[in-house]
Symmetry: C2
Subunit: 425 residues, 2 copies
């Protein structure tokens, strides 16, 4: 049964009472970035809420109340999973029709007036200060599809692929909030045998899921696989924009660099790990025997998030991808255990991305590289447009949502970016 | 002619009056990290110096004087090259025997007593908060030597190598200050056909030069090649510790990851770009025609730093590498222009490393991978030890110094790390 709120929450909202995602906002009345939660079509400003005794009935948070006036969620995240859980539970109660504490907000119209804002009127900002950003490659179907394209079916997957979560360090400074325009990059590409300098002609998106780290391990000390989930604050949608022509020329032998570092977009609202817990399922099967440091006690370790990608061109909007985040070979705890097995120090605010999530059928693939077969076949779009790769002005919108009860969805909202023409050089 | 100081500076000191490198220190009397310069066998505590009117004769710095009480040099770096220059010039004058301002420090024994500490008594800390760390691969001889080893002489260099500064994003959180112990990492390696989980058996060092960024470009706007030098605050020595067996198994197709993220050591004192200016020379010749965005107006764009690596084992200390940082195909301005050509936002505090610097002769190579031919030939060391790769307890010391006048050296001091045994798992 869906929880019932005194606040009107539209059916189908990503931000039901079952969710309570955290973000950073500014408003017309205050340009200071500060924490908030999204609920229905509203946001609750946690800086205003906390400084007006909103947390008076949750004494355990009082020593840490300053986390709600910080410009990022790092300090809140660093308090750890049990604290996130108690704050989320408390805020759920505050918005319940049968709340134990009606005086705090339900019957406190003065506080409602200063602490609740329409979602459409707030500006969202990067929710965390990101120390390091790592992009994995755990989407088996994507890795396979791309491998077939470049090496044939027999050698599609590299020998290491089933043994370890392949990943690479990304560019943290290039991570931007949903809505930020993405400029088409310049770069070197092969045309066809000699390198030329040009605007990228194969600009692509990648549909990914991201996780923020909320605890640090000591340098030199790996995070054990069965403790790794407690290091995960929450999740966002990720669009790992990719320049395929730049990537093809640059990536041997040290991996993608310029093809990825011009921008990576994340959705604004961090869905807490606890909110996703009910949606755990089995990821893709791995028949390979894996090393003990990667073996999780539990069987269901990957989230079942319904993912969609819309491509908007001048001619209209087409949903070009529908898939599930179950299409991962490795879980986030496995990624974290592998990342730190060397003793690599993970820090509060680090972002891990899953790698491109694709299904196996047409219309389930999380990149244009796969959908257009590297530019061989054009996608037919609403209104008559066709696309092999992204053109200037195109907008990519990723959505993700868990659940079937329209009154109890746990969703991410949208992760949006529009392509701007290259800068004149 | 060497500049003469009223402070006794030993002949052969890396920290002559011609240098004035900046770092972050704590002392027994104060555990607050704060800026300092190294001079001879002493350091000048800039927090104490500035709060006792040490900068009274440099009015232009007064609006920014708080940068000298910060726990990192980021705020000072962000003031820009002209300010670094004026502060360095001023501090040089303060220590000159014929200083224009003797009352500030030369004849102010009270301030000398509270602001000067013996170098051996201070603890150094990471000088910058590092946002992103990028490791390039600009050491042509290293790339060639390694390529010959794995692919033969005909295919030693990848097709892109002479066309662009190959690089990859590294792990910023793993960068540590000289002296920090480095734990031998665990990881997956091929043995010989199936992956096993083990302590790395091929632990190596990499001799590199690093640069810190002091200005930010706007996202989407490349840094023009001939402005790039003004984005470089200064330089440090870098040891990019590498696990060769982990690297060999993991690195296809997305590049090195766990093989590098367990630790990267930098030297403590940042030698300002201005201090290195007199030591510019020609790097390695590139006969390939390069794209205009990489073409520098000047011909001499690489520093001539004499580099040495000592390997200390139980049996003694052996200098195993002697080379020059002229052994680079690409300059740091070229790396920065390439890094940002996509619009990648560079930020104050970013660290760029050169890639391994090797000469062409035996005894000039900047890694054990090259010196032992990937473990085929053991190096003979002082006192009878032999090494193919690093063993537990081994210590690697990198030194770098410019110039021949023993009274006017511009040096980096040392970049040191000792290998600790793997953690028990
Ligand atoms: Ca990706
Ligand atoms: Ca390196
Ligand atoms: Mg990206
Ligand atoms: Mg390293
Ligand atoms: Ni002289």
């Amino acid at each position: 049964m869906a929880k019932i709120s005194w606040l009107p929450i539209p059916r189908g909202s990503h931000f039901s009472l079952s969710n309570i995602p955290f973000g950073i906002i500014t408003t017309a009345s205050s340009q200071s970035p500060r924490p908030a939660i999204a609920i229905g079509n509203q946001v609750l400003d946690l800086a205003v809420f906390s400084s007006n005794d909103g947390f008076s009935a949750l004494p355990s948070i009082h020593p840490y109340i300053s986390v709600f006036s910080q410009p990022t969620l790092n300090a809140f995240a660093a308090l750890g999973r049990p604290v996130h859980r108690s704050v989320r539970d408390y805020l759920q109660d505050i918005f319940m029709d049968d709340t134990k504490h009606p005086q705090i907000l339900k019957s406190n119209t003065m506080l409602q007036q200063i602490a609740l804002f329409p979602l459409k009127d707030v500006q969202t900002h990067l929710p965390m200060q990101i120390g390091d950003y790592t992009d994995f490659y755990a989407g088996l179907n994507h890795a396979y599809n791309v491998g077939v394209m470049f090496r044939g079916a027999a050698n599609a997957l590299q020998p290491n692929y089933m043994h370890l979560p392949v990943g690479y360090h990304g560019r943290a400074s290039s991570v931007v909030i949903s809505g930020t325009p993405i400029r088409r990059p310049w770069g070197q590409i092969l045309d066809p045998k000699v390198p030329i300098f040009t605007q990228s002609k194969k600009l692509d998106f990648e549909l990914e899921l991201g996780a923020f780290v909320c605890s640090a391990n000591k340098m030199g000390e790996p995070i054990p696989i069965n403790e790794a989930e407690s290091f995960l604050f929450g999740f966002v949608l990720v669009n790992d924009w990719s320049s395929r022509d730049v990537q093809a020329w640059e990536y041997v032998p040290l991996g993608p660099f310029n093809s990825k570092n011009f921008g990576t977009t994340i959705s604004a609202w961090i869905v807490l790990t606890d909110a996703l817990e009910p949606f755990l399922g089995k990821g893709l099967e791995n028949k390979t025997e894996i090393q003990a440091y990667l073996e999780e006690a539990r069987d269901e370790n990957v989230y079942d998030i319904n993912l969609e990608v819309d491509l908007t061109t001048k001619s209209g909007t087409t949903t070009i991808t529908r898939t599930s985040s179950l299409n991962l070979l490795w879980s986030f705890p496995q990624m974290l255990a592998h990342h730190s097995i060397t003793g690599c120090p993970m820090q509060v605010g680090d972002l891990l991305a899953s790698g491109t999530i694709s299904g196996t059928e047409p219309g389930t693939q999380g990149s244009l590289l796969e959908q257009s077969q590297n530019g061989k076949e054009a996608l037919k779009l609403q209104g008559g447009d066709e696309r092999k790769f992204l053109e200037d002005g195109d907008m990519v919108t990723i959505r993700g949502v868990c659940g079937v009860d329209e009154d109890a969805l746990v969703g991410f909202g949208e992760c949006i970016g529009r392509i701007e023409p290259s800068i004149k050089l």
